[in-house]
Symmetry: C2
DNA sequence: GGCCGCCTGTTACATTCTCTCACAATTCGT
DNA sequence: ACGAATTGTGAGAGAATGTAACAGGCGGCC
């Protein structure tokens, strides 16, 4: 969920006249990405697991990747869903401290972690991009923390739907696609799958949302009301 | 909670032979900090509030600063406690999106945000430091997310005590100081003050902790058991 | 094609936990 | 020492969970 848009042009201080000239070949993130290998993932397949050596940084191309941590008793706490354009695997050191798993058929692009970070050592521009990206991820994680910290299940689910809508649903208006299982949503929000299901039903009977065909597509009928329920 | 140790020397890639030579004066963060003004805060006094223009970045010198967000209905969700050495105010743009409030008598050092970030544009080393710092904060926020996402009150309180112990309690063994009110802990963990109080009592009767004088000092009698209760 | 098992999602009911509201006990500041 | 603020404790209400049963979709298999 880093929101690392490699094509974004506004620098950290837009008023600055400094422009970093890209070295001739393979230097910008876009170029590096273009040469990076693509890996296709089936649903529930792992990109990496806790404890794996951190060899690569990945950019999501298609699908949704769940970033999660496994607790001692086997429960799974999803920290974040990564969507196309997001970078995953940044910030860790020698080993991954979280696991990453596809919630549906997905594609990721692999980039050497050491090469990226070595290059950032000499390029303030790239380093700042990394900084900005992690800042965005931090903001998203904080937002999720606020959501999960809220008591009621309705608030959490409503917040989740709104966040999904804000992120993915600019185009087709008020329809969002849940590209993950109920169990994934439950593990993200700290609820059970039954509670998620019940809450969606509740929102449906309140005429705030409509759920279609197998529960993968949700239409937000009353965004204002949903925002009210989410306390936002 | 950025854990931005300005004196840390290991670079992002320790094996790299590149060393950034600091410009003659006022360039390193330590030097800038030395000249920065110190502001003293009483308990419950604000460092900044949501919506304030982001003029400064602050480093906590003494005390504890609660970083929080206010919800529509007036509830307060604490995102983080910042301890001495931590930087706060990074990552935002024009305005602060969170509030920062002292939980006890504290001191912070003020640093111009624009100056710091302008300097980072030309110094990959500083930019990388910022990057690493935010990564640390991200890890801490994720850790808190795992804690809050856990269902039971015992797990949350136990996790909180352990986190506090890991952070502050290297020196005096197993004693941690709660430099904040019960209400602050409750708003961090998504519980009520009554539940926090009851849970501490429960842990006390289980002989896992000891609480002394007004509940500000806690001794962890059985760290292993506490970790078990916290599911860590 | 039809049968079967597997997985996911939904719903109902009993249980358990936290929250709300009440008030007592303690600490702290003046 | 007094009053205000904070903390601790109890009883009842409410909400989420756990358990269980059931419906629907999907693929394998005969």
């Amino acid at each position: 969920m880093l929101g690392f848009q490699t094509s974004e042009t506004h620098s950290f201080r837009p008023q600055s006249s400094r422009i970093s000239i890209s070295p001739p070949t393979g230097s910008t993130l876009d170029e590096r990405m273009a040469y990076a290998s693509v890996r296709k993932l089936e649903s529930k397949e792992h990109v990496f697991c806790e404890g794996d050596p951190r060899l690569h940084v990945f950019r999501v191309e298609e699908g949704v990747i769940a970033i999660y941590k496994t607790l001692c008793d086997g429960r799974r706490r999803i920290i974040d869903f990564a969507y196309p354009g997001d970078l995953i695997g940044l910030g860790a050191l020698e080993e991954h401290i979280l696991s990453a798993q596809a919630t549906c058929t997905s594609k990721v692009r692999c980039l050497s972690a050491s090469a990226l970070e070595a290059f950032a050592e000499t390029d303030a521009n790239l380093a700042l991009k990394l900084y900005k990206s992690v800042c965005q991820e931090l903001a998203a994680t904080r937002s999720l923390l606020v959501t999960v910290g809220q008591r009621s299940a309705v608030e959490r689910v409503a917040s989740f739907l709104l966040a999904l809508h804000r992120r993915s649903g600019d185009a087709d208006g008020s329809t969002v696609t849940l590209a993950m299982r109920r169990s994934d949503i439950a593990d993200l929000l700290g609820l059970t799958i039954e509670t998620v299901s019940r809450t969606l039903t509740k929102l449906r009977t309140m005429n705030v949302i409509e759920v279609e065909q197998g529960g993968t597509t949700v239409t937000l009928c009353d965004v204002a009301r949903l925002a009210d329920l989410a306390n936002e």
